[in-house]
């Protein structure tokens, strides 16, 4: 039984299908990547899992139980935490208080009585933003704010972390540290599901990758396999499928075929 099972989920906005019969899983102790071109339906999937968006069809199961009708805050209580692509930090509060609020909410009445000060500082330290602790959250750089959202999310002790483009806004060395942190977080038993555009990061930290295109999962597997998957390259580089490619083959594509494949193999 997987920690999270997304089963045949469909989301339609008006006439547009954002998620089209998507099915994938995320396991505890693993970093799972969810990748795909712009508009492939990744953030919509996150909204469905965290409860901000009702699916038109399909089921989401968490810890073996269906959560389709569970409201947002109960899903959080059950252990689904998330960050946002468009930042949702509490801008009026300090960085430290952002995390503190998360603790307060998570611990409910108990937290209202005795806030866990030590834990907060440890968390800030862990994601590497303790030097910003006293800054207002709307005054810190985006990359830092994303780390803050991660810290805030961790404060609610989730079993599953949904991270929406967590590394955008981070520089190279920060991204590297962040990758290591993600693997640690997973090794401690959490499930991590991440939407990310930095392919270096995805390929190096993810245990499993699912590729979405047109709202459909077109490929799943280990990084090397996904990288070598013809359909994935097509999705990113705009091939329709082999038959169609043959049908409109040009010299240009021949050039492309020969240059792309060796590059991928070198990495694998």
């Amino acid at each position: 039984m997987s920690l999270l099972e997304v089963d045949d989920v469909v989301v339609q906005f008006g006439g547009v299908t954002a998620v089209n019969h998507a099915s994938f899983v995320a396991e505890s102790g693993r970093v799972t990547g969810l990748i795909g071109p712009n508009g492939a339906g990744k953030t919509t999937c996150f909204n469905v899992i965290s409860g901000l968006q009702k699916p038109t069809r399909g089921h989401v199961r968490f810890d073996g139980k269906g959560i389709n009708h569970t409201p947002v805050h109960r899903r959080a209580k059950r252990g689904i935490g998330r960050t946002f692509q468009r930042l949702e930090a509490f801008g009026s509060l300090t960085v430290r208080d952002n995390v503190r609020v998360a603790y307060d909410i998570h611990r409910g009445v108990a937290g209202m009585v005795r806030p866990a000060a030590a834990n907060i500082d440890a968390l800030l330290e862990r994601v590497g933003i303790s030097q910003y602790a006293q800054e207002r959250a709307d005054s810190i750089p985006t990359g830092t704010a994303r780390l803050l959202e991660l810290a805030r999310c961790l404060a609610s002790e989730p079993k599953l972390l949904l991270l929406d483009e967590p590394s955008s806004g981070l520089d190279e060395s920060e991204t590297e540290a962040f990758g290591a942190l993600l693997q640690d977080l997973a090794r401690e038993g959490r499930g991590v599901l991440m939407v990310e555009h930095d392919m270096d990061l995805v390929m190096s930290v993810c245990d499993v990758i699912h590729v979405l295109d047109f709202g459909e999962v077109i490929s799943s597997g280990e990084p090397a396999d996904v990288r070598a998957d013809k359909r994935v390259q097509n999705a990113y580089l705009g091939y329709s499928d082999d038959a169609d490619a043959d049908h409109t083959r040009t010299d240009l594509e021949a050039v492309h075929d020969t240059t792309l494949i060796p590059a991928v193999e070198a990495q694998a």
Binding site: V72, H73, E88, L93, R136
Partner: protein, 655 residues
């Protein structure tokens, strides 16, 4: 049968007038996302203008009509869109609410100033004509009104579907950015819709004025009917809006005709519209959580507890000095200021920290006062129970609209306030129609406080305690969670917070604070009635709170003094009474975009001065006492408080 017919005709007549107003409201709301609370107020002002043209200046009727509907109203609409509400639709709904409440108060002030109270009347159109329909006589005015609504409906339909600019209006509802890429001008489209909207408000006002009379408030509030009708169409659908308006007109007319003339059912006829509004709002679907918030809203600094205590003590000592020297009349004023300041503190909690706009805060104070007078337990226990009753009522208002936020929540408080004003407060079991109740002054631990000076001091103690409580709250878990909820509801939800119950508790607590103030106020005055807690008073209260700063305790205290001074200035300079409202309304329109208000501006100036002149200032401080007023006294508070806050940051960090 004939009476049924005439009720129907009257219902259709008023329904038609509501429909005209409501379609204007829907038009402006859909194209610019700004809900114009002042829609009716503009109808009222323009009815006065119409009176001025046609009766006072004696212009021909048709010319006055053309001038008002074709020139003055569109100009006002254009001006509003261009300079007041532009770009406000994308901002937080609390800002546009406060601004349009500001416009409402502005309009009432303007009307009172330009056309001071005197007997005026506007005759119906073609007063001598009419037709006999069976047993029923239908006046020409009624026919004209019903026909006007049909013409308005047809013209709006043609405009919106058959012309390019009308199509652009509908397009800009969907996506104004895309319209720009097409080469359309959303601003021009919005200006046109405001021009038409205000014109329709004027038409509706002019058609109703011969029935309702030229009254500042009646015409303004008649628009609650338009809100109700517009809400039935979800503020989107014009056909449903027309349907809602007609249904409401008929319902009001039938209830006037058929409800028994005595008992509570009789009172019910006055509140059909707010009741209708409330029910329609309750039936609204779940609001979506907003995503994409980055900038924090609350930026007033938080004083340290020590400093807050110090300034609280200073305020107490100052009041104590005052009580020794002031006449009873002036002491009553100080007590009133303390009451208002306390009610504003309840707004700091609800609006400043919580981000919800309440248009019924004074009504909650009224509930507290009523409970206090009825309980007749002039002691701390009685006061506490009164506050609890007000809190319960506040929670009850929030309960049915648990799922809603922003505009709908605010409108439901408006409906509630009107209901209380017209139905409950005037009922026999409450204050009674134009009646009053006696309330005795509080006794604390067996010591009764009879002198006005002593009582005012006790009120100040409560004010200080309430401020400290609020600062304590803001500093603690609840305050942080509140502000977090205001900044990002979506994040709070995904962190596990059930915001619905939190919101109910927040409304309850805030209403309880207002209720406590109301109870104390009842004791101060000794005699209180429904007139002390009129619905309209909540509006300047909200505006002054925002102008002075609804995110800080200092702002609330200053606002309380300001609101107390308002009637004083009005009675001292009656000719300027309207002007005061004009200024407040205008101030709110100017300052609403920053809920931190004047208080925060002072904090900023304070910090700047502190940085430059701190040593000299501190050296001179002991020389200052003796000079001045409360204003001076409080003025210094934020300056020091904020300075202190900055210094104390390291201590705050320590676990």
């Amino acid at each position: 049968m004939s009476s049924f017919m005439s009720y129907t005709i009257f219902g259709l007549f008023s329904g038609a007038a509501y429909a005209i107003a409501a379609s204007g409201l829907v038009l402006t709301y859909t194209t610019t996302r700004v809900f114009n609370i002042a829609h009716g107020a503009f109808g009222m002002v323009l009815s006065f203008v119409f009176w001025d043209f046609s009766v006072r200046q004696g212009l021909p009727l048709w010319l006055s009509l053309v001038l008002v509907l074709g020139v003055v109203a569109p100009l006002i609409g254009w001006f509003l869109q261009r300079f007041v509400v532009r770009g406000m639709g994308e901002g937080p709904v609390s800002v546009s609410l406060v601004v349009t409440v500001g416009l409402l108060v502005f309009c009432i002030g303007l009307a009172t100033y330009v056309w001071p109270p005197e007997a005026r009347s506007v005759p119906p159109f073609m007063p001598t004509s009419g037709i006999q329909l069976g047993d029923t006589y239908v006046t020409a005015h009624q026919i004209i009104t019903i026909l006007s609504s049909v013409v308005v409906a047809v013209l709006l339909y043609l405009l919106l579907t058959r012309t390019r600019i009308g199509t652009a209006m509908r397009a800009s509802v969907d996506n104004p950015e895309l319209l720009k890429l097409f080469g359309g001008r959303p601003d021009r489209v919005a200006a046109l819709s405001w021009a038409i909207g205000i014109s329709l408000a004027a038409l509706s006002g002019i058609l109703l004025v011969s029935v309702v009379g030229l009254d500042y408030y009646a015409l303004t509030l008649l628009v609650v009917n338009a809100y109700a009708a517009a809400m039935l169409g979800r503020l989107k659908s014009l056909p449903l809006t027309f349907l809602g308006a007609m249904a409401l007109g008929l319902l009001t007319s039938y209830s006037a005709g058929y409800l028994p003339p005595d008992g509570w059912l009789n009172d019910l006829r006055n509140v059909i519209a707010p009741l209708f509004l409330f029910l329609v709002i309750v039936a609204m679907p779940q609001a979506q959580l907003r995503v994409g918030q980055v900038k924090g809203i609350v930026s007033a600094p938080l004083p340290s507890l020590g400093k807050a205590l110090g300034w609280g003590a200073a305020l107490l000592i100052f009041t104590a000095l005052l009580t020794g020297n002031l006449s009873t009349a002036n002491l009553l004023l100080v007590g009133t200021a303390a009451t208002y300041a306390m009610v504003m503190l309840s707004l700091v909690l609800l609006t400043g920290y919580g981000g919800h706009v309440s248009l019924a805060q004074f009504t909650f104070a009224g509930v507290g006062a009523l409970a206090y007078a009825k309980l007749d337990e002039p002691n701390l226990y009685g006061l506490l129970v009164s506050a609890l009753i007000a809190a319960g009522v506040g929670a009850l208002v929030a309960l049915p609209v648990l799922r809603l936020t922003g505009l709908y929540l605010a409108l439901s408080t408006l409906a509630f306030a009107v209901l209380m004003d017209k139905l409950v407060f005037q009922a026999d079991f409450a204050f009674g129609f134009n009646g009053t109740l006696q309330a005795r002054r509080l006794s604390i631990l067996g010591t009764s406080i009879t002198s006005t000076g002593g009582y005012v001091l006790v009120m100040t103690v409560f004010l200080v305690l309430m401020s400290l409580f609020l600062l304590f709250l803001r500093r603690g878990v609840l305050g942080r969670v509140l502000i977090a909820m205001r900044d990002s509801p979506a994040a709070c939800g995904t962190l596990g917070l059930d915001m619905r119950w939190f919101r109910v508790a927040l409304f309850g607590l805030s209403a309880g604070m207002a209720g406590l103030a109301g109870g104390l106020f009842a004791g101060l005055r000794g005699t209180i009635g429904a007139n002390d807690f009129q619905f309209f008073q909540s509006l300047p209260l909200l505006l002054l709170a925002v102008v002075f700063g609804v995110t800080s305790v200092t702002g609330a205290t200053l606002g309380g003094i300001g609101l107390m001074l308002l009637p004083v200035l009005q009675s001292n300079y009656p000719s300027l009474a309207g002007l005061m409202l004009v200024i407040i309304g205008f101030g709110a329109v100017l300052l609403a975009r920053d809920p931190n208000g004047l208080a925060n501006l002072m904090f900023k100036i304070g910090r700047f001065l502190e940085a430059r002149f701190a040593p000299q200032l501190l050296a001179k401080l002991p020389v200052l006492p003796g000079r001045g007023s409360i204003l001076d006294e409080v003025d210094e508070d934020p300056l020091d408080a904020s300075f202190d806050h900055n210094q104390e940051v390291p201590a705050h960090v320590a676990p």
